[in-house]
Symmetry: C2
Subunit: 125 residues, 2 copies
DNA sequence: TTTACATAGATAGCTCGGCTATATATAGAT
DNA sequence: ATCTATATATAGCCGAGCTATCTATGTAAA
């Protein structure tokens, strides 16, 4: 498939403030390695968010440095992969940031929603 | 009240990709001057988004340079104010970007929503 | 078998927007 | 007079996502 160097459909600015959240929640579901995160997010977003490797790997290193995730190398499956799992601090941060993001999204929606074609709020059940 | 130099509650990164949209939609409702936009957004967000002047004014200049808004000085009301109104191109961009933002927010919600305390989607009616 | 592609990870350096800090000016209240 | 809120502006900092580039291997088609 080759997701490398594919420019994302969505502006890079949209990712700021929410990309770390998406990556963190993906890892929280179950341990992941970089490439699997890349594919999972592309899948969930219907190929709208296709992370370049130059975005993803530095981000993972940052999250690890912040102790929100931890890593271990695994090569028993043939391929050498660097697996990431979420830490206790990561789970705590994830919940806080998820609520934070939702509050912010609601605020944006209050102003912007009336100019959207489909008037359904993306963060209501 | 004095909103200047008040650090915003929400991370600055969240604003990237959506702040221009909020400002544009505020001006689209009715013509505004800088300070009134600052207060309107603070109001709608319940003081969660308090834009520093150093953020707002350069942004307005950018939007004007992109021909999405236009300005005129008005001082008949005593105070000298620079009013902004949205252009035809601005309306078009606003609609497109509003839909774009909603799609993105729904994508984030799909991943992150399960970790939010209140499970209501912020972009559903 | 060698060519191609998907898989898998890494980093130097650029870009650009929100922020801090600072500056200017005036109306109205104390 | 002094203070506060109103009103606008810009130089320069900072940091995250991106481009470009590099390395390496499993698998399958040519």
């Amino acid at each position: 498939m080759g997701l490398d160097n594919v420019a994302p459909t969505f502006q890079r600015d949209l990712l700021r403030g929410s990309l770390d959240l998406m990556v963190l929640s993906t890892i929280a579901e179950e341990p992941q390695y970089g490439y699997s995160i890349q594919k999972r997010i592309a899948d969930v977003s219907h190929e709208q968010v296709t992370l370049p490797a130059g975005t993803l790997y530095p981000l993972l290193h940052r999250l690890e440095e912040e102790k929100l995730i931890r890593s271990y190398w695994e090569d028993s499956t043939g391929r050498k992969r660097k697996w990431y799992e979420i830490t206790a601090a990561g789970k705590k941060t994830l919940t806080a940031r998820a609520n934070h993001w939702q509050e912010y999204a609601e605020c944006v929606w209050r102003l912007v929603g009336q100019f959207s074609v489909k008037r359904t709020n993306p963060t209501s059940a």
